[in-house]
């Protein structure tokens, strides 16, 4: 990856900009880490009170578990001598009971602790999932076209999984580990100061090792996140296009691509495994060396008569319990690094501002009439200008057909009206209100777009039609289907309206899917209907049914129709012929057809095409 040419600043790395970069400068790494930490903080914020309870539980639990070695030491030092002297086992019995109580308390607190942290973890994951999901839905089409659906999916599956794994295993261990280290550290100091100092000195190399691991693993996990995303992108693309993959024998080439991505993912994961292979045992090494040192030093001190054997024994027992949690801590830190890399990606997504933002102070559209005005609207994709400056007024109730060659700007006009994009300059107005000031929900109650690609969701036919108006009754749904002539084929399906259309409507033919998406739009009952090649896959009888339905449906509403088939254009009140983003002809279809302009030529060619076969 190429290094940034400018000095990195916050702005260069906003949002998802840093996604493809693995080696980022320390400044940027700091920015990214801060961003993910803020996200984690905001996710945990609602659980602040529970977290305090958890902390309390951990303290109790640690005290209870610390009591174990202490009681053993006490049993040996104070319980056994009286017994040996034949003074009875009273003290020993007390120690035994105390041990039992401590154990019981430990079980109880641990159970509660696990339940509470489990709940916090699951709540955080739920919160994160819905936040990211909603934000992706909020981001504009321009973002989605660049980002690809595979990435969207990977962010919401494997990145969320990484965080969920961390919350599952990590949090339990760390609070406990930290507290028991602090607790045991203090206890050791109380037992014997010189030995404790030797023990605590081991923290210097431990800390250095941790710093090294943090730096290296951040890079490694960043690479892993990106590698797994690419694997998922490839899977999604293959599954989506499986028919073409098989028809054109792309399987071997896909296997090649996939094997390379899969191997890259493996190599990236192995890098982080290797780092962990150094980090975890490295900590073990430091702690084992420390134990040997204390054994020697402590043994010497006992021989010098400065220390009791019981104290040394207890100290050695504590020491192991002091170091054991370090392994948990290493595991936790590792999971945290992995989760941080995922959080970096997700916080980047959440930071992306929709290029079609929600209105800050939305203006209500209680009863939209459907008057549409384009006011000096210019628009382009990247560098290419599509609309150089369009002025257009469509009075409420008028049906306008857009005609013109590919690239003339028809679809762009439709998309601006549906607010998939915002104009670069100028305004699009509905009933005199700038679309940017209308709330999304209000806008799409007023303006509904039907496109050529009739995407259906898995679920029943009825569910898919009801998407136009959630909560619509079965009667309304059937009525909508009836009006556009979809009822007959739906009723003939094995389970009628309850038939599962399968993935992306795979059970239905392209024409049937288009009919369902028409029914969906009619059920939505908008003031403005935008049809972008919405009848391209229909057979002629159905197209006619749809057209005659449109005549009644469009009588009292505004419509913008894009169609290659002029049969659909004929039902319009007005035709706009576009060329390079400008209106070159404007008038009722029959008048234009009778003239000598571009529309008349198109119309003639189309009539020819109809008769060509008739004569054949």
């Amino acid at each position: 990856m190429s290094a940034p040419t400018k000095a990195p600043s916050g702005a260069d790395w906003r949002g998802v900009a840093a996604e493809h970069t693995e080696n980022v400068s320390s400044t940027v790494a700091g920015l990214l880490r801060g961003r993910s930490r803020r996200l984690l903080g905001s996710l945990l914020a609602p659980h602040r009170r529970t977290l305090w309870v958890v902390l309390g539980l951990v303290v109790v639990q640690n005290l209870a578990s610390l009591a174990g070695p202490y009681l053993i030491g006490a049993g040996i030092d104070r319980g056994i001598p009286p017994l040996l002297r034949g003074e009875g086992g009273g003290t020993l019995a007390v120690v035994g009971v105390a041990f039992a109580v401590a154990t019981g308390l430990q079980v109880l607190t641990q159970r509660t602790f696990m339940l509470l942290t489990g709940r916090i973890g699951q709540d955080v994951v739920l919160d994160l999932r819905t936040r990211v999901f909603e934000h992706f839905q909020r981001l504009s089409m321009a973002f989605h076209e660049d980002y690809t659906s595979g990435r969207v999916i990977s962010r919401q599956t494997s990145d969320v999984d990484a965080i969920s794994e961390f919350l599952d295993g990590g949090v339990d261990a760390v609070v406990r580990a930290l507290l028991s280290i602090v607790g045991i550290g203090v206890t050791m100091l109380l037992l014997d100061v010189p030995l404790a100092i030797v023990g605590l000195a081991s923290f210097v190399p431990l800390f250095a090792l941790t710093l090294w691991f943090r730096r290296e693993s951040a890079t490694a996990y960043r690479t892993t996140r990106e590698a797994v995303a690419m694997v998922i992108v490839q899977i999604v693309e293959t599954l989506t296009g499986i028919r073409a993959v098989q028809a054109f024998r792309r399987e071997p080439r896909n296997e090649e691509i996939f094997a390379a991505l899969n191997e890259r993912y493996r190599a990236a994961s192995q890098k982080s495994f290797s780092l962990m292979a150094v980090y975890g045992p490295g900590m073990k090494l430091i702690s084992n060396v420390t134990i040997a040192l204390i054994l020697f030093y402590g043994g010497t001190r006992v021989l010098d008569g400065e220390l009791g054997v019981g104290v040394l024994t207890a100290f050695l027992l504590y020491l192991r319990r002091f170091f054991d949690p370090l392994q948990d801590l290493a595991q936790f830190f590792n999971a945290l690094q992995s989760a941080t890399a995922a959080l970096e990606k997700l916080s980047g997504v959440l930071e992306e501002a929709p290029s079609v933002p929600d209105a800050e102070r939305p203006r209500a559209l209680p009863a939209p009439r459907g008057a549409v005005r384009f006011d000096a609207v210019s628009f382009g994709y990247k560098e290419k200008v599509v609309l150089p400056g369009l002025d257009l007024h469509v009075p409420a109730g008028q049906t306008v057909a857009l005609v013109g060659a590919t690239g003339a700007g028809k679809t762009t006009i439709a998309r601006l009206l549906g607010r998939f994009y915002d104009p670069v300059e100028g305004r699009v107005l509905l009933d005199g209100v700038d679309l940017r000031e209308v709330e999304e929900h209000d806008l799409h109650r007023a303006v509904v777009t039907v496109t050529q690609e009739s995407f259906l969701f898995s679920g029943s036919v009825a569910d898919n039609i009801a998407f136009g108006r959630p909560g619509a009754s079965r009667g309304d749904i059937e009525e909508a289907a009836r009006r556009i002539g979809a009822h007959e084929f739906i009723a003939a399906l094995p389970e009628g309206y309850d038939t599962d259309v399968r993935k992306r409507g795979g059970r239905l033919s392209a024409g049937q899917r288009q009919l369902v998406s028409f029914a969906r739009a009619f059920l939505a009952d908008p003031a403005v209907l935008v049809l972008d090649e919405a009848t391209s896959s229909l057979d002629i009888p159905h197209e006619r049914l749809v057209q005659s339905a449109l005549r009644t449906i469009l009588a009292d509403r505004t419509a913008l129709i894009i169609a290659h088939r002029l049969s659909t254009v004929e039902i319009a009140d007005r035709v706009l012929v576009l060329s390079d983003g400008r209106v070159v002809e404007d008038g009722p279809p029959h008048e234009l057809a009778a003239g000598t302009g571009p529309y008349a030529r198109l119309h003639h060619a189309w009539r020819q095409s109809l008769h060509r076969t008739g004569a054949a």
């Binding site: 017994l83 086992g89 020993l92």
Partner: protein, 585 residues
């Protein structure tokens, strides 16, 4: 599973060995401590202290090195295994027919390829090793304990009974929940996928709220199941943890009494308890390990559900070469003989009793209303679906007797919804024919009126598809058409190939297509009279079978229903009332 683990068996054994040795080293350290406490410290023998402490140091270094080795190998072996299975699963998914992919939500397949495989890998890298290592540790420690003191040692060993009982109960409770979580997570992934791919529709209807609510409801359900998992684990782990601690308490009291009665030495008791403490972690870890084992088990189940699905459409064991009548290259005589089709699990035929014959070079149009089975019939030729009755032959060979790659080299297909891959225009067009020359590509682009590709920023090297430049529907359709006609395939299947083209482009493409089709056997699914002009003959499908075959003009004149479907040009502009009535009928 064993099959995929085999290449890594050696490495796994090394991991196990290092884990066991590390445990042995860890156990030895307390033994050395006992020697020091009982020996030099008690007897005031300074000279023995240093070598024994050095021994503890060496053991400590050895333990750390063994841990390092194990983790290092874990990275190479289990990740390699995960990659291998993922490759195999991906390959298998590519071999499963479209009917399978229609049935399965992609999110479910995706989660099997990702999170399920990770769960399996985690178990092999950690759970399995430590399951064995911990059992071994338990056995070793118990043996050592018995050697120190038989009675106390047996008391510790007896704690195995409640542990076994708990584990059995946990297994029973956990596996169902674990599977449910995985299934629900897969469904959630499917929701994510649909929301991402259907975002245009969601936005067109302003249904963000609706779809977010749906997703939240599903995520909340996953959360509920996860919490159930947490509850089971918490109950198991906390009770499990009490066992070694309670055992220690009992040992402490009994041990002290034994010391009191002089049966064992103080050093023995210290060593005994230090050793017994080493049992705490293996037992506590059992909770985690068993959970991981259960998750891996159910995840493997889910993976094998897919891997064990036999591809219903595959090359035969002994394929016949797809040759023409004289043993040379195929000429493209296509026959449908008594063909019927029904969707798997359905009890109704979509197609039945279809008999059609196409002479080499002949173009047959399939006409019928939406849902009449035209597309299904066309897809039987490249075997994207298999006839459930009758057979489809090319030059007398049943398509099912031919190797799939051979068949699909001879039969090229253009779909109604053009699918481009994230690759260069050139790669997309030469798909399946990597030996195509530049001239072939040019010819195909010309024919499909797709010369616009040269004007893209990097010409034919411009990356298109999802991860590339977005093209309009018409542009995509033209590239898909160029791909289908590249290299003049013997047999061509075109499913409504011109639906997204504007009238002028359509006329140009038709003109060019006519030349190609003159030499190619073709099945063309059409909706438009204009496209019918490409065909020599038309087969009219109604109620799942061929109602009539003939030229367009003949059918228009003789078949009322056909004229209906094709639309009488004279009535297109203003459909007559009576005609509408007839269609409704």
């Amino acid at each position: 599973m064993r099959l995929y683990a085999r290449p890594y068996a050696g490495q796994m054994l090394v991991m196990l060995a290092t884990a066991l040795l590390a445990v042995a080293a860890a156990i030895s350290i307390p033994l050395v401590i006992r020697r020091i406490v009982d020996g030099p410290v008690t007897h005031g023998d300074r000279s023995a202290l240093l070598p024994l402490a050095a021994l503890a140091l060496v053991l400590g270094v050895v333990e750390a090195s063994l841990n390092f080795t194990r983790r290092w190998i874990q990275g190479t072996s289990t990740l390699g295994m995960e990659r291998d299975i993922r490759d195999v699963l991906y390959r298998h998914l590519q071999s499963l027919p479209p009917a399978f992919h229609d049935r399965w939500l992609s999110g479910q397949l995706l989660s099997r390829l990702t999170s399920d495989l990770s769960a399996v890998r985690r178990f092999f890298g950690f759970g399995l090793i430590f399951l064995v290592a911990n059992v071994a540790t338990f056995a070793a420690i118990c043996t050592l304990l018995v050697r120190i003191d038989v009675f106390l040692g047996l008391v510790v060993t007896a704690s195995l009974v409640p542990i076994g009982f708990l584990c059995a109960r946990f297994h029973h409770q956990f596996s169902g929940v674990s599977r449910r979580v995985q299934d629900q997570t897969g469904d959630l992934a499917s929701r994510v996928e649909e929301a991402a791919q259907g975002i245009r529709v969601v936005k067109a209807f302003g249904r963000r709220r609706h779809i977010v609510d749906q997703y939240t409801a599903d995520s909340t359900e996953v959360r509920g199941t996860q919490l159930e998992k947490v509850r089971i684990r918490a109950g198991f782990a906390s009770v499990l943890d009490v066992i070694p601690n309670a055992t220690l308490g009992v040992v402490l009291v009994l041990g002290a009494l034994a010391v009191g009665s002089g049966r064992i030495s103080l050093g023995d008791l210290v060593a005994f308890i230090t050793l017994a403490l080493q049992l705490v972690w293996p037992v506590e870890a059992l909770g985690f390990i068993l959970a991981s084992a259960q998750e891996a088990g159910t995840a493997a189940q889910r993976v094998f559900e897919v891997l064990d699905t036999e591809p219903e459409i595959a090359s035969p064991a002994v394929p016949v070469p797809l040759t023409g009548p004289d043993g040379g290259p195929p000429v493209g005589r296509v026959r449908f003989e008594g063909v019927g089709y029904r969707f798997p699990g359905s009890d109704r035929d979509v197609l039945h009793d279809i008999d059609l014959e196409l002479e080499p070079g002949e173009t047959l149009a399939l006409v019928g209303t939406s849902g009449s089975g035209k597309t299904t019939l066309a897809m039987l030729l490249p075997r994207l679906a298999d006839a459930t009755r009758g057979r489809v032959t090319i030059d007398g060979h049943d398509v099912r007797d031919v190797a799939l790659p051979d068949l699909r080299t001879v039969v090229a297909t253009a779909f109604e919804e053009p699918i481009l891959f994230s690759a260069s225009v050139r790669e997309n067009v030469t798909l399946g024919r990597p030996d195509a020359t530049d001239a072939d590509v040019e010819a195909a682009l010309d024919l499909a009126q797709a010369r616009f590709a040269h004007d893209l920023p990097w010409g034919l090297d411009t990356r298109v598809g999802e991860q590339g430049m977005s093209l309009s529907g018409g542009q995509r359709q033209r590239l898909a058409l160029a791909r289908a006609v590249l290299g003049r395939p013997r047999v061509l299947v075109l499913d409504d190939p011109l639906s997204a083209l504007d009238v002028e482009t359509e006329a140009l493409v038709e003109e060019a297509l006519r030349r190609v089709l003159a030499a190619t056997t073709a099945v063309v699914v059409v909706h438009r009279p204009s496209t019918v002009a490409l065909a020599d003959r038309v087969a009219f499908l109604r109620d799942g079978t061929v109602e009539a075959v003939g030229t367009h003009a003949d059918l228009m004149a003789t078949n009322h229903a056909y004229a209906e479907v094709m639309g009488d040009p004279a009535t297109v502009v203003v459909p007559g009332q009576s005609r509408r009535e007839e269609v409704r009928r």
